[in-house]
């Protein structure tokens, strides 16, 4: 056994993040670590990376008991991690990022740039990556950054590579390339701990799996002995349809349309319309321009030419408040950074977009604020003890509900959702989808930017497929297939 964790426990402020978890990683194995958000996966990874210390249990590496006191020790033991939010330094070169914290020095103590560059070139060549050692990270694509992170693991002679959602923002071609690299690593006798929510991917790439739920070990076995549905059951504790069946809704007339939207270097000829009670999907590879279009519509950025028409009126949107005034709101992909204000209270957050409405002259009317917050809390079932509670103290799911509550308070008619279920576990995904269905039943229209085909096919009425800043096609979801959508999105 290459790595074995015995009865690992970790407790945070009285909450059991991990309880008596056993984990066994074989050599030459790609091992999936599965579980919903909050199941304990990231705590486990942080313990392996030396960020946290376990409260109980022991860790064995190649048969020897070890203590992973800090990140440096973790690296020294041959454990390396590739995170979703990459631990990268934009302004430094590829060479430097690979050798970060681990520079090669000459006998006089000064850095040996030449040796580092040579080694970097070699590794990049081995991985067949088309990257120069002197490029700055900020100029690389996401896939290229992953390769640099993997190179870093190789430099450290890592034995165990932990990959957390490695394909999250990659195109299909890049994903396949990554699978190749992973398989090569396996051939080099390394073991990989693979964390992913995409069960298709897990079934395809991995050899074994371990499922955690609520901090405890549920099951661990070979992939060949299981299937997707079983995995979902293990993870959620009950059977769930991955996609909530959409209620039938009678779609009404066109309510919103965009004509000839153009922004230099970003997008061109953007023409589409949205009908009342419709859910319109926007599919495309990461970097295809979908979010840029939405941000322009919402007024965060300006577009150079084009027209936005809402209820037969041409709208002048120069900043977000113009859009909000007209009933168009945008839920950004980055919930934590752009959606909520963590250090302000839940009541403040829920009411943040309607402060003027809640005021008499300039003075804030506390009763109006409380009334609205209470309505939203009940509608969305937000778990909160006091209104003055800071938003950052809520659980992830409740934080998201608070952000949604903020927008619903503005009584919008068009809701633009940018990757609303990204990085969310199966159970919460269902809840969001169910809620979206309710919203359109009650008269709202939704534009949903998504990178998950199953979500598009399951929730949307039509889908706009974008590629490199252009709309390639607008399809009726009933009359298309995932293969067709993927093909169009890849530029074919």
């Amino acid at each position: 056994m290459k790595l074995e964790l015995k009865k690992i426990s970790k407790n945070f402020h009285g909450v059991n993040a991990l309880q008596d978890v056993n984990f066994q990683l074989k050599p030459n194995s790609i091992h999936a670590l599965l579980g919903e958000n909050g199941a304990g996966k990231s705590t486990l990874v942080k313990i392996l990376c030396g960020v946290y210390q376990p409260d109980g249990g022991s860790i064995f590496l190649n048969g020897n008991q070890v203590s992973i006191a800090d990140p440096a020790k973790s690296l020294a033991l041959g454990i390396s991690a590739i995170h979703q939010e990459s631990v990268m330094f934009d302004e430094l070169t590829v060479t430097e990022n690979i050798f970060i914290g681990n520079h090669i020095t000459k006998s006089n103590g000064l850095i040996d740039w030449k040796a580092m560059r040579v080694k970097t070139q070699k590794i990049l060549d081995d991985l067949e990556a088309n990257i120069s050692p002197d490029e700055k990270i900020k100029d690389l694509s996401i896939a290229q950054r992953h390769i640099v992170q993997i190179s870093r693991s190789l430099i450290h002679d890592a034995d165990i590579v932990i990959m957390d959602e490695p394909t999250a923002s990659l195109s299909q071609k890049e994903i396949n390339e990554l699978y190749e690299i992973i398989r090569n690593l396996k051939k080099q006798n390394k073991s990989i701990i693979f964390i992913s929510h995409k069960l298709d991917e897990v079934m395809e790439v991995c050899d074994e799996y371990t499922v955690l739920r609520d901090g405890t070990l549920i099951n661990a076995d070979l992939i060949s002995n299981t299937n997707k549905d079983q995995l979902i059951t293990h993870m959620a504790g009950r059977e769930i349809n991955q996609i909530f069946p959409k209620n039938i809704v009678t779609i009404e007339d066109e309510i919103f349309s965009v004509k000839n939207l153009y922004k230099k270097t970003q997008f061109k000829n953007i023409n589409f319309n949205l009908r009342k009670k419709e859910i319109l999907g926007f599919y495309g590879l990461v970097g295809s321009g979908r979010s840029e279009v939405m941000k322009s519509i919402f007024g965060i950025t300006k577009f150079d030419q084009g027209e936005i028409i809402f209820k037969n009126n041409s709208l002048k949107i120069k900043e977000p408040s113009d859009a909000i005034k007209n009933g168009i709101v945008y839920l950004s992909e980055e919930r934590q950074n752009l959606g909520m204000t963590g250090l302000m209270s839940v009541k403040d957050n829920i009411n943040m977009a309607i402060m003027e409405k809640n005021s008499d002259l300039f003075v804030i009317n506390n009763q109006k604020e409380t009334k609205n917050a209470a309505e939203m809390q009940e509608k969305l079932n937000i778990k909160v003890s006091y209104w003055s509670q800071l938003t950052q103290s809520l659980s992830g799911g409740n934080q998201q509900k608070t952000v949604i509550a903020k927008w619903l308070s503005t009584k919008p008619e068009v809701l633009i959702l940018d990757e609303p279920t990204k990085g969310i576990d199966v159970r919460s995904k269902s809840a969001v989808h169910e809620f979206m269905g309710e919203l359109v039943e009650n008269g709202m229209s939704i534009i949903m930017v998504s990178s998950e085909l199953t979500e598009i096919l399951g929730m949307c009425d039509r889908v706009v497929v974008m590629y490199k800043g252009l709309i390639k096609e607008i399809l009726d979801v009933k009359n298309t297939s995932s293969e067709q959508i993927v093909k169009i999105a890849s530029g074919d």
């Binding site: 965060i300 959606g339 909520m340 204000t341 250090l343 402060m355 003075v363 209104w387």
Partner: protein, 328 residues
């Protein structure tokens, strides 16, 4: 209708007040008052106390608008320089013989324009305010020097002299009275209106505020313009009090004003703080200066004391917090 039973705040515990910054500041103030009154018989003299307010009233006025700036996650190092330039305009327009209302208007407008300049450069070019105001600090005072060169203005309208050195009803200095009134106004805006709420939002998370539809740039520009306006107003009081304006007027005042704000519990990185805290800290610093002055401690000693007080007021509580955490 809605019988929602979620309370606003956790149950009220008297004990919690003890931890509030404003309460601690009040205690510090009382201690200083106590010490001062024991040191010198002159301290508790009403007239002396009233007169002591002259020394800090002008700075105090600017501290109020500076509070908004800092809560909004900005900083303005150019306030003293704006004071200098505005005073020069005051003196210059007086020497040109304009009528009083024009003089005052032009002086105030100078402050507003300087503030607008700051705000526009910060927002249009997205440059951190600390850097921009380091630059305008030189620019504005430099303009004052180029105006006045080596000399000084000492002729001002009657009303200005009166504003700076006279008392309402013979008791309350106008400058101090203005400060008190403005404190109430600023406190009201910050804590009761949506304008104040928006300032807190901007200071806590400017990006999220933008996405929520708050006009972050507009608010920033206005805050700097207001800061400039009140700097100009303060310079009118100061010019009236001193009856003489040189280009080096108010030199170093930006540090004292920022000290007033930060000592008052306003977090330097924005998002939290109250006018009450700043109000009390202004008196702490004022009474401290006054007391040390009575002890014949030179102005320098007061500066050193203030610097130490500033650092320790933040360092001590945080040290205690860390100490406690390590022992848990």
């Amino acid at each position: 209708m809605m019988s929602n039973l979620i309370p606003d705040k956790p149950p009220f515990k008297l004990f919690d007040i003890l931890y509030k910054k404003e309460f601690i500041l009040l205690i510090v103030l009382f201690v200083i008052l106590l010490i001062n009154s024991n040191i010198s018989p002159y301290f508790l003299d009403l007239y002396n106390l009233i007169d002591s307010t002259f020394l800090f009233s002008e700075k105090a006025i600017i501290a109020l608008s500076m509070t908004f700036i800092i809560i909004a996650r900005q900083i303005d190092l150019s306030v003293a320089s704006i004071m200098a330039l505005s005073s020069c305009v005051l003196g210059y327009t007086t020497s040109l013989g304009y009528d009083t209302s024009t003089i005052i208007f032009l002086t105030l407008i100078t402050g507003v324009l300087c503030g607008l300049f700051n705000g526009l450069i910060i927002t249009k070019f997205a440059i951190p305010s600390i850097i921009v105001t380091i630059g305008t600090m030189s620019l504005f005072r430099g303009l004052a020097y180029s105006f006045l060169e080596d000399s000084y203005y000492n002729k001002f309208p009657e009303i200005v002299i009166s504003m700076g050195s006279d008392y309402l009803f013979g008791y309350i200095p106008y400058a101090f009275l203005t400060f008190i009134i403005l404190s109430i106004v600023f406190a009201f805006i910050l804590h009761k209106t949506f304008i104040g709420k928006k300032i807190y939002s901007i200071g806590n998370n400017p990006d999220a505020a933008k996405y929520t539809g708050i006009a972050v740039d507009k608010y920033t520009i206005v805050l700097f313009a207001v800061n400039g306006l009140f700097s100009a107003l303060a310079s009118i009081f100061l010019s009236g009090r001193l009856s003489s304006v040189r280009p080096n007027i108010a030199f170093g005042w930006e540090l004292e004003i920022i000290t007033m704000v930060v000592l008052g519990g306003v977090y330097i990185y924005g998002g939290s703080g109250t006018i009450l805290g700043v109000f009390i800290s202004i008196f702490i610093l004022g009474m401290l200066s006054f007391g040390l002055g009575l002890l014949n401690v030179p102005g320098v000693g007061i500066i050193i004391f203030t610097g130490l007080l500033l650092i320790l007021s933040i360092g001590f509580p945080s040290f205690v917090k860390n100490f406690r955490r390590k022992n848990e």
